[in-house]
């Protein structure tokens, strides 16, 4: 009992921070999504409870639907397909348990380190780096293209969504690679040896022995990178502004809350982001039939 009381006392500071800065704002965010709360205008003076009005409005809001479409394409393209499978491929090629590890060691370390450095780049720094790379007038990639094939491409104008998908893949693959690497290395070597003894080819070994064991890692990675990618805002806003082709749900929420000061409506957008992330997490969990 004494130990339990001590533990409770030790937990209080952390729980205070959690309660004050995470739980309370979340509860308040849910509450104001049912009001017309704003920071300017008559609604700032007299906010009122409007029930589900924001929710009805949002479902017929063309700009919101556009942002959902953009976010979905962005998440599928950059996270689910890009980061996840690229990370898995890099991990499969570079994990230490590979028989040819000694031959590929330095290349593997270089690839891993590069990937990791991309992942830890701060968001505003990466947006400046990619602006320097893809810009039509001064971009390094365009300088190379002009030197080789006498062509300059206005990437941000003609391929806005592709540009931000590529940037996000570059940024986030490091995490997927790390997670997959530890997943690969957690598979007991005896299982692989047993499969080889039973006559499995390399492909069969992966298909029937290794990949089923990685379902847990697959689900966890998908859940995390989906939630994170739905939350990406900074570099897209910095590079693209509020362009229709690349307005993600987070950017739309920011625009509503901090450009137009309609914080009630902005909160409603955030609630939808939460609902979508929760639904997708449950779907991944069910689809992959992850068991404890």
């Amino acid at each position: 009992m004494k130990e339990e009381k001590i533990l409770l006392i030790l937990m209080v500071p952390a729980l205070t921070i959690f309660a004050l800065f995470m739980l309370a704002p979340s509860i308040w965010g849910v509450y104001i999504s049912f009001t017309n709360e704003a920071l300017v205008g008559p609604a700032a003076r007299n906010p009122r409870f409007v029930g589900l009005e924001n929710y009805y409005r949002i479902l017929s809001d063309r700009d919101f639907i556009n942002s959902v479409k953009n976010s979905t394409i962005f998440v599928i393209g950059s996270a689910v397909l890009g980061q996840n499978f690229l990370g898995m491929t890099l991990a499969a090629l570079t994990h230490r348990r590979r028989k040819i590890w000694n031959k590929i060691k330095y290349a593997a370390i270089l690839a891993s380190t590069t990937c990791f450095l991309c992942w830890i780049t701060p968001e505003m720094v990466l947006s400046l780096e990619w602006l320097a790379y893809l810009d039509y007038d001064y971009g390094f990639l365009n300088d190379i293209l002009e030197a080789l094939i006498k062509v300059r491409i206005n990437w941000f104008y003609y391929y806005p969504m592709l540009s931000i998908i590529l940037i996000n893949i570059w940024w986030g693959t490091g995490w997927s690679m790390l997670l997959w690497r530890s997943a690969f290395e957690s598979i007991p070597p005896e299982l692989e040896e047993a499969a080889e003894v039973d006559g499995c080819t390399g492909f069969q070994k992966y298909r029937y022995v290794i990949l089923p064991l990685l379902k847990g890692a697959f689900a966890i990675n998908l859940i995390l990178i989906t939630i994170w990618t739905y939350g990406v805002t900074g570099f897209v806003l910095a590079l693209m502004g509020y362009r229709e082709e690349t307005t993600l749900m987070t950017i739309y929420a920011y625009q509503k809350a901090f450009k137009f000061y309609e914080i009630g409506y902005g909160s409603t957008v955030c609630i939808f982001i939460f609902i979508i992330c929760l639904a997708l997490s449950l779907i991944y969990y069910k689809m992959l039939k992850v068991r404890e």
Partner: protein, 491 residues
């Protein structure tokens, strides 16, 4: 095992509740203390302590160049002035170091939270949005008793208020001229050396642009005859210095102040979109449309003007000084042929021609106001005295002599010998030719959304959509955003 699992949830909930209670207590203790009532202590022997000093707070955007002047000169002078009247006051500056949008966000958030300073400096076009939110004190009765108020331009008075009431006093203002490269104009035979170009209509501007295009193509120069700010990336500059300037030139507006409705469709709106379409798509008298759609188009456009690759451009009045400032990236050093030249040799300014030959221009500017909660704090009198002090003619002129820049909101300033003796030709031209005719944006809460709609409309033109279709789109989107009862159509 320290904890029984089923008790863990109970401990977590109890811990969160304790955490919330502690948090509320900390929040209460950390809240700014209410102003303590003044206490006068009189020692009846040989020493008398002075009466308590009344403190009034003022926000200041520390990124302004004249911060030191307010802090080291104006405020101490004011405090001395009040002391001589037996009132002991202290103006305490609350620094707001973030510029532009973050400044606005922080100030608005502080106002909402009830913690903003007593005296606030705001962009004048925020007045309606802040006044309708109840953040600004209605100072109509105060200004009407102020003798100096009659010296303010009518447009400045209108910019200071909303709904017939006054909520601020404009500190200084600006206007938008039309710039043109006179070296190109002379070489193309549009004007003679020493002559000033004064266009009478937008059609004349288009004619001149066509002549410059023909001349440049014939001579092999890569020069864009004209550019207007366009696209969403240009932000408010697209609306104010591009679209709105042409709209005003055609005699149109975005908002009808008489009816209190947004104008969803009108001939001037259509003509403005047609003007954009002509210069960007139909006749290609300007930069390629995609110029405005990526990167930093505003910067690039000014660089084209600097380098003599752009002949006619509408932008804000401060650019005249930037182009002569060696430290500025738009500093002009060459003519359009690349030969050494100064700004005065190659650049000139003129009016955007409006209806009936009058100039069309639009103004912004910052204003000084009193936060509504100053009334509860009992600081309104001191705040108002401070505003009158800094906005007196003498104080305004002295600040202008040291820092230059903005235009006076007062009509009596241009007549003052101190001002007349020092003012440069360009500023005098602006004061006499543009300031009396200026107007301002309707800074209602929904203005930002309408402004974005205008930017998107110009972007649709850049992408080749027809003006009539874009106007229909603008009408339906505007109606959706502000509501059908807040829009009207005009001939």
């Amino acid at each position: 095992m320290i904890l029984v699992p089923e008790r863990l949830y109970i401990y977590l909930i109890v811990g969160i509740i304790i955490g919330l209670v502690i948090g509320v207590i900390i929040g209460y203790l950390a809240a700014p203390p209410k102003a303590a009532p003044g206490v006068t202590t009189t020692v009846t022997t040989t020493v008398t302590k002075p009466p308590a000093v009344k403190e009034v707070t003022m926000c200041y955007p520390t990124w302004w160049a004249d911060y030191w002047y307010w802090k080291e000169v104006l405020i101490p002078e004011f405090e001395g002035y009040m002391a001589r009247q037996g009132k002991y006051v202290k103006i305490k500056i609350v620094e707001y170091p973030s510029p532009d949008e973050p400044y606005r966000d922080k100030l608005i958030t502080d106002m909402k939270a009830g913690t903003a300073p007593d005296i606030v400096l705001i962009d004048s076009f925020w007045v309606p949005a802040l006044a309708t939110a109840g953040y600004l004190l209605d100072i109509t009765d105060l200004v009407e008793k102020w003798d100096d108020w009659k010296e303010f331009y009518d447009s400045m008075k209108a910019m200071s208020g909303w709904g017939g009431r006054i909520y601020s006093v404009v500190l200084s203002t600006d206007v938008r001229p039309l710039y043109y490269r006179k070296d190109i104009f002379i070489a193309a035979g549009i004007i003679k050396p020493g002559e000033k170009w004064v266009p009478k209509s937008l059609d004349e501007i288009l004619d001149v642009a066509r002549k410059i295009k023909a001349w440049a193509e014939k001579e092999g120069y890569e020069i864009y005859p004209i550019a207007l700010k366009a696209g969403v990336l240009g932000g408010e500059a697209t609306t104010m210095q591009g679209f709105y300037m042409v709209l005003l030139a055609y005699g149109g507006r975005l908002y009808d102040f008489k009816t209190g409705k947004w104008i969803a469709k009108s001939t001037p709106l259509l003509k403005t979109l047609e003007f954009y379409y002509k210069i960007y798509i139909e006749e290609k008298l300007s930069v390629p449309p995609e110029f405005w759609l990526t990167g930093k188009p505003i910067d690039k456009a000014h660089e084209l003007l600097r380098d003599g690759k752009l002949a006619i451009f509408c932008t804000w009045d401060g650019v005249w000084f930037d182009t002569a400032n060696p430290a500025h990236r738009w500093y002009i050093t060459k003519n359009f042929k690349g030969e050494s030249a100064t700004r005065d040799e190659v650049l000139d300014y003129t009016i955007m021609p409006g209806p009936e030959g009058k100039p069309a221009t639009i103004s912004g500017g910052w204003a000084i106001a009193i936060y509504a909660k100053a009334k509860e704090r009992g600081t309104v009198d001191i705040a108002w005295e401070f505003i009158k002090f800094v906005m007196s003619k003498k104080a305004w002129i002295r600040r202008w002599i040291i820092f230059g820049g903005g235009l006076p909101p007062r009509k009596d300033v241009p007549e003052d010998p101190l001002y007349k003796g020092r003012v440069d030709e360009y500023t005098l031209w602006r004061v006499k030719n543009l300031l009396p005719y200026t107007t301002f944006r309707p800074g209602l809460p929904e203005y930002m959304k309408v402004s974005e709609l205008v930017q998107k409309a110009t972007e649709k033109i850049l992408r080749g959509e027809k003006p009539e279709d874009v106007l229909e789109w603008y009408k339906s989107e505007l109606t959706r955003i502000v509501g059908p009862d807040k829009v009207e159509e005009l001939p």
